[in-house]
């Protein structure tokens, strides 16, 4: 019998929620790594029993954990993230140059084909790769050569938070960095270039169409159509049809085009989900109504999905890595909130239920569809 495993990272540990394909009743295990911030955990598409975890605290720094049995047991992996060569400098808040300093791992992206290969997006922004299951890490330093000296941290830190692998082209990868923008490699990570043409950031940048500096919040792609990438920017929901050569806005009728996560339906490449947030200083839903918005047309026309979601006095946020989809025949959508709820829809967003409440603030949600 098929089923799903929802991997939830929170401010104080990880939780694993399991259900059969009906997705009506859930078993909850956790907290794993109790007391630690779990920015992200994600399973290998090539081996669902392998799960990588980013575990950190302000006291004890960064750890990487790995499970080879679907989250029943864990083992610490390597946690040395050394920038390649002389780390160099980037822009600091006061306009001076500041040395690159490793702070934490925001996102782990396992290879689509090799369970031992995994990528790590880190703060200060850089991309690392492990080819031995997380025991050692090597920086793909070409990324920081793309005007890295001009990048500067936003209020949330200078983090590489999004890694999207092209299933049709193992040499192509997209990443996004807060307050720096989106970048693409076509040679497996050796060289990179900014792909920010069409982004307009008049409130955040002195040059609103600068080559780098845009605050990209999240990217999403459907595996059948890897040239089409959707973006939730600081403000604006964007779309490219040519792998980032040019972006155009598809915010359409959204009540706010600010937000963090963006996701694509597992079986409908033009069905996209976002969670509008009121503004960059008011990180909660407009009107206190928690609404997921769905576009079935690849953007511009959006419908509010509210059935089962709180429609008054709701002031939670949904962070950038806290929404995911399963690939069961009736696509499931999942998202977690800073209020500690994880909501799930087993019908593509038409109806929702809280599958767990009162967790610590949710930082990330990933889903594994199990055979």
């Amino acid at each position: 019998m098929s089923g799903v495993r929802v991997l939830v990272g929170t401010r104080k540990g990880a939780f694993i929620l399991s259900s059969d394909e009906k997705r009506q009743s859930w078993d909850i295990s956790g907290p794993h790594f109790a007391g630690w911030e779990i920015y992200h955990l994600k399973g290998s598409p090539a081996d669902p029993n392998r799960i990588y975890v980013s575990q950190s605290t302000g006291w004890f720094g960064q750890l990487i954990q790995r499970s080879d049995d679907g989250g029943q047991t864990w083992a610490p992996m390597g946690n040395t993230f050394a920038y390649d060569g002389v780390p160099g400098t980037h822009q600091w808040y006061d306009g001076t140059q500041h040395p690159w300093e490793f702070k934490r791992v925001w996102h782990l992206e396992p290879s689509l084909t090799d369970p031992d290969v995994v990528y790590a997006g880190v703060e200060d922004a850089a991309l690392f790769r492990s080819s031995d299951g997380g025991q050692t890490w090597q920086e793909l330093a070409g990324l920081r050569h793309v005007k890295g000296n001009l990048w500067q941290p936003g209020a949330g830190g200078m983090c590489l938070h999004t890694i999207v692998l092209d299933p049709g082209n193992p040499n192509r990868m997209f990443v996004a960095i807060s307050a720096a923008g989106a970048f693409r490699t076509d040679d497996g990570g050796e060289t990179w270039r900014p792909i920010n043409q069409g982004l307009i950031s008049p409130f955040e940048l002195p040059d609103s169409t600068a080559e780098v500096g845009h605050c990209v919040h999240n990217l999403a792609m459907h595996p059948s159509n890897p040239d089409v990438v959707f973006m939730q920017k600081h403000w604006d929901v964007m779309r490219t049809d040519d792998a980032g050569e040019m972006w155009h806005e598809v915010s359409g009728n959204l009540p706010s085009d600010f937000g963090f996560p963006i996701a694509v339906h597992a079986h409908e490449p033009n069905t996209v989900y976002v969670v509008p947030i009121k503004s960059d200083s008011e990180h909660y839903p407009p009107e206190g109504k928690l609404r997921v918005y769905r576009s079935r047309s690849g953007g511009n026309e959006w419908e509010a999905l509210t059935n089962g979601l709180p429609q008054q006095d709701c002031y939670v946020n949904v962070l950038r890595d806290a929404m995911a989809v399963d690939s069961l025949p009736s696509c499931g959508i999942y998202f977690g909130t800073t209020g500690g709820q994880v909501y799930a829809s087993a019908d593509g967003g038409d109806s929702w239920q809280a599958i767990v409440r009162d967790l610590p603030a949710v930082l990330s949600v990933e889903v594994q569809t199990l055979p």
Binding site: G35, W36, T57, G58, W59, F60, G61, Q62, L63, P76, N79, T80, A82, F102
Partner: protein, 98 residues
């Protein structure tokens, strides 16, 4: 034997009890004790001192014999009671709250 008390979260990580016994050849300095600890328990690397700089992590404190040794040079020889194994070196997560 040198005895070290480590914080709860690191005990869980290293799968040890409250006190860890270490063989540390003299001179018994903070650096020598931490190196021995990280050698015996490699999963603790980076959790007490930064791997790149070797510096104490900001929210870690070193207490011993009623003294705060956190700001002492890392090559300072530890008090005799530590070196003799009579007192533990306490590695403490700094207070945080509000």
């Amino acid at each position: 034997m040198i005895w070290v008390v480590i914080p709860h979260h690191l005990r869980v990580l290293a799968q040890v009890g409250k006190e860890v016994g270490l063989v540390v050849p003299p001179p018994v300095t903070l650096t020598a004790v931490l190196t021995a600890l990280e050698t015996d328990y490699p999963m603790l690397r980076g959790t007490i001192r930064d791997q790149a700089t070797g510096q104490r992590r900001p929210f870690i404190r070193f207490f011993a014999c009623g003294q705060d040794l956190s700001h002492e040079p890392a090559d300072t020889v530890l008090p005799a009671a530590i070196c003799n194994g009579d007192e533990p070196l306490r590695i403490v997560g700094a207070m945080a709250g509000g």
